[in-house]
Amino acid sequence: MTIPHIIEQVVFYFSAIMVVISGIMVIAQRNPVRGALALVLAFVFSAVLWILLESEFLALALIFVYVGAVMTLFLFVVMMLDMDIEPMKRNFVRYLPIGLFISVLVLAFMIYVVAPEHFGLSKYAKPLHASAAYSNVKELGHVLYTKFVYPFELAAVLLLVAMVSAISLALPVVRERKLQNPAEQVMVKREDRIRLVNVPSEKRID
């Protein structure tokens, strides 16, 4: 086993363990701020793994877009909403067995499927490293702007729509004008306008 291979394995296992640990932290943290930060950690180590898989562009995009923009957004929102953390802790232990059971079951199934006897080195040898002239960005860009140009455009539109809708959803409605509502005026009932008050008569002053 050559040195680079050992390094590669070390990097892989270290990053993988870190991803799993930070994943556990995401779901186990009571404080969402910490959870978000753990998620950031998971993203960063995932990016490392992706670079290992020679998809540099996506790895960087994950850092820039996810860590830089999306997770920041998360943190903004978490901090903006003034939540009290204490009552949220309850029942965690109560649901732990069922949660573990389910996730372990799913995990078992999945590992059964993707076990090394199906996807191991004997079946899929690691492909050769790309040459130094290889540019992942160029390669990806090439297919994106030719073969997948329509989905790409659609994705752009989708982002635009998402932006517009996010703004319109979160924008507080300010009632600037006082409008009449004729329907309401017509439908008005007696009870809405008149209140009969039983005023006690004054005592006679003798």
Binding site: W50, L53, V70, V77, G99, A155, L158
Partner: protein, 101 residues
């Protein structure tokens, strides 16, 4: 040499972790959203691994689009959370039961 199955198993672990997160989390909606992100990460991991091992760039194209959609989803999801908080003064999942039949 790292086998393809290693990446896939890592994806599976991440995926079942996020499932556990869904089930265990009785707290706030934001954590749920983060679990979704984690789940997508697991999926992306599989895509990229396959792309690499099968030497097919399409897997990465898929991840690219998933990232796009995930970003959009997060933006809208958070906007809804904000709106929810503004209207209900809470984002506690246990108190959000207006869908109750």
């Amino acid at each position: 040499m790292i086998a393809l199955s290693n990446y896939l198993i890592l994806g599976a672990i991440l995926f079942s972790l996020s499932i556990a997160g869904f089930v265990l989390n009785r707290r706030n909606v934001i954590t749920l959203l983060m679990c979704v992100e984690l789940m997508l990460l697991a999926v992306n991991m599989n895509f990229i691994a396959f792309s690499h091992y099968l030497n097919d760039i399409k897997g990465q194209v898929f991840v690219f689009f998933i990232l796009t959609v995930a970003a959009a989803e997060t933006a809208i999801g958070l906007a809804i959370v904000v709106l929810l908080y503004r209207n209900k003064k809470t984002i506690d999942v246990q108190e959000l039961d207006s869908l109750k039949g």
